[in-house]
């Protein structure tokens, strides 16, 4: 594994307590719009990060070159940064203490060799399937198909760890001549689990629902959220409520609320990084072994995620949620959220008791307004429907949701049994594929502001 070899050489260029991390991305993404391929991107790149702790401060440097000279230069930049930082005075970073992992990572855990081939022909066939399904119904197909192999390795002194992962993702948005659209996506470890035709059919069904879109005014409505929408809500909650740094600084939504009820007892939320249903990870950016942590149990706030810095501030132990060696300025975050399934068989059953409400396929442009309140705003997109007398009756114009995520979880009435690994397939910077495992749910009095 390239990453492991480079991490070892990088660490050797630094001080004895230098921590080196290498993340390699080998990815392929095929993009399509209006039933034709538009952009295709193949990336083979890596990032070497060297972090040197000194008097509680951390100097960091990175490069994407792997020759010895470049690594020595990177280590020197990190050392100079650490020394400059230490001149300011002592800080609170306790140093690195990574958990050694034997061998070169477990290729059977979260890794699929066929996916790692990044075969463009497989992608082209998936696009052709999507185009065919959409074309048969007079719809345009838009979306992406993408696969990747990632290597992540770290080294410090004689300790090291490495892991290989694959991920695959496809989303299809079908757009009807009327402008109405439908969405479906799938996230998986193996490309064989991406059913292009099935996704296109799901998206198409939503785009062709009969009836003119109705306009619903601002107000509070009972809402059935599909898993993709629930995933958006939980992703925003992660940053507001489970960030150990924000919590330690009194900015977090669970500040003073651990041990208290913050959601209905139906809600059981954890971070489960070793679960095969997620995109699993063994260690974090500081080499700390990731541990499963219960976040909300039976509706009661239980814990937050920590990296080594936030843990030091809070007097706690790192839970293995560092996003950068020495801690990201934004703090740690869960990467493998799992919301437990409930008793409802599916979305149809969730709609059953709803006299008049809203069915939401997904959310878009969601942003936290006030983190301490977990107040967010987002718009619905690609499949918003009116529920009347227990069933979907017609499309709705998209709505703007402005509500507290913990508030929604406190008004949750039922949760579906089946969970889905959801992701929005956003790959900024060095690819960091992650997803949220969650079911559909129904919540009451969800606030829409437009």
């Amino acid at each position: 594994m390239i990453a492991q070899e480079v991490a070892g050489r990088a660490a050797a260029r630094g001080a004895p307590d230098a921590f080196a991390r290498v993340t390699r991305e080998h990815s392929l993404m095929l993009r399509f719009a209006a039933g034709r391929p538009t952009q295709s991107t193949a990336i083979d790149d890596l990032t070497v990060e060297i972090a040197i702790p000194f008097r509680g401060q951390v100097g960091r440097a990175s490069t994407n070159a792997v020759d010895d000279r470049a690594l020595a230069n990177c280590a020197e930049r990190a050392r100079l940064a650490a020394e400059a930082a230490a001149a300011v005075g002592e800080s609170n970073f306790p140093g690195f203490d990574p958990t050694p992992l034997p061998g070169a990572g477990d290729p059977g855990f979260g890794f699929d060799p066929r996916t790692a081939e990044l075969d463009p022909e497989v992608g082209a066939a998936a696009l052709a399937d999507a185009f065919a399904v959409a074309g048969e119904q007079g719809l345009e197909a838009h979306g992406i198909w993408t696969v990747a192999q990632q290597e992540e390795a770290w080294a410090m002194g004689d300790r090291s760890g490495a892991e290989r992962r694959t991920d695959a993702f496809m989303k299809v948005i079908c757009i009807a001549p009327s402008g109405r659209s439908g969405y479906a996506s799938r996230t998986a470890i193996t490309v064989a689990d991406i059913p292009a035709r099935e996704l296109a059919e799901q998206a198409a069904r939503k785009a062709v629902v009969d009836g003119e879109p109705a306009r619903l005014g601002p107000g509070e409505y009972t809402v059935v959220f599909e898993p993709a929408a629930v995933g958006w809500l939980l992703d925003l909650l992660a940053g507001s409520a489970f960030n150990g740094l924000a919590h330690a600084e009194g900015r977090g939504a669970l500040d003073g609320r651990l041990g208290q009820r913050v959601a209905v007892p139906l809600v059981n939320l954890s971070d489960s990084p070793r679960s095969a249903r997620t995109l699993p990870r063994s260690f974090d950016a500081e080499g700390t072994r990731k541990a499963p942590i219960p976040l909300i149990q039976d509706g009661v706030a239980h814990s937050v995620a920590h990296d080594r810095r936030s843990a030091a501030i809070a007097g706690a132990t790192s839970t293995g949620h560092a996003l950068a060696p020495g801690g990201s300025p934004s703090g740690p975050s869960p990467t493998n959220l799992v919301l437990a399934g409930g008793g409802a068989s599916d979305e149809t059953e969730l709609c059953g008791p709803v006299e008049r409400g809203v069915y939401v396929t997904r959310l878009w442009y969601a942003n936290v307004v006030r983190p301490k309140e977990t107040l967010i705003t987002a718009v619905t997109r690609d499949g918003t429907f009116l529920i009347e007398n227990g069933r979907i009756t017609r499309p709705l114009r998209d709505l703007r949701l402005t509500d507290s995520v913990l508030g929604i979880l406190s008004r949750t009435q039922a949760i579906a049994r089946h969970q889905q690994l959801t992701s929005d397939g956003e790959f900024y910077g060095r690819r960091f594929a992650y997803g949220i495992v969650c079911p559909a749910l129904r919540a009451g009095a969800v606030r829409f502001t437009a």
């Binding site: 952009q39 990336i43 994407n64 400059a84 001149a87 463009p120 600084e249 301490k372 703007r400």
Partner: protein, 479 residues
Amino acid sequence: MRDLLRDLIDSAQARAGYADARFVRSRVERLSTRNGRLDQLDSDESEGIGIRVRVGGSWGFAAARGTDRADAEDALRRALAIAEAQPSVPDAAPLAPEPPARGEWATPVERDPFNVPVEEKLAILLAADLGLRTDPGVKITLARFSAFQTEKLFANSEGALCEQRITECGGGIAAVAVDGADTQVRSYPASHGGHVAEAGYEHFLALELPGHAPLVASEAAELLRAPACPHGRSTLILAGEQLGLQVHESVGHAVELDRILGREASYAGTSFVPHDGIGSLRFGSERVNVTADATVPGGLGSFRWDDEGVEGRPVPIVRDGVLAGFLSSRETASEIGLERSGGCMRAEGFARQPIVRMTNVNLDPGEAGTLEQLIADTDDGLLIETNRSWSIDDRRLHFQFEGEAAWEIKHGERGRLVRNPSYAGMTPEFWGSCDAVCSPSEWSLISLLDCGKGEPGQVMRVSHGTAPARFRDVEVGVA
């Protein structure tokens, strides 16, 4: 490197109708302090080559890190294989014609920020950080410095060969006041990373962060005690970062031609603006004039050539409230019959392909005098300058923003501070309600450092020039 790019292009031409290659070397330095201690000290470098080919109307793009010839040739092979594997696009439009870009260009810089000792930068940040800790209500203090340097060499199969070196530098401060269930933040000169300009270290010094810190701290603490923004309809004066972000989200993205043509429907979305709306679509009131200009000194959307080799120039976007143009590429311009690309193709680093991005999309100044004169001319309203939260739908129609703070305007005077000021609207109606834009003396650039678009995602730094503007009958207090 020039020879390598030329050779790659020569090789590509045997199988591709068009090809371009970019070598990009990037340097980034980020320093920040938090509560008087170092928070971040990162020094990042990367370099590599991105190769884009067009075969039968289908694009293929592959990237290789470093400068190794064999790796670059392998990237070319992958780009060609990907393009050839895809369904052909027989009716693909030709690229809009463009003379080959030739020459060199660099950001004018007085002092290279990468040559300034870290200790000097840290001293300024720590002084600012100390100044933020002057109010007991403030619990978290932040001071940031950032610098970016990008060297680009571009060649294409039409004979272009040009080189650019772009330097960007800046920073900002923020104070977070915490009291029980409430958290309030104030920033200077802007939130979300402060103000970065295409300039040298002199720009960071000119921000004078330490001098502004005490006021930032006291306003953050004052916000904890300030009345909440009432719900209703109000006159709104937007200035600085908030107005720049309003332009960015509701004008800049809305006039990206790739979105308008549906190319971004799978992610960023589409647009309410039709591709045939030039000259007929009313975008705002007659006071509203917007220009996309890649030649503005200091703007993060400024360059000599875009990443497709098109020379930057001012492009009218809105004239007297009517749509006048788009942000475009050679391909999208050709598709709707424009003679030239708007020169808006930009890529993040070497490993992403260029897509249609904003240059400096600027609200042109008006004739309403200074901000104080505009306030004096306003009987009742709110003034918002700094952003805290933003969201807009996938057609760029319905938006909702929340500022860090607002000031009440009563009888022509700036009044008390208001917390959690939010407002919402529909793009054409909102810009249609603009009845005043301040004069050129008030016009300045703001920066946005994290504009996301594209798949795989690309983050772009952009600037927007604005002078304070007034909007009537806006829904406020919505969040």
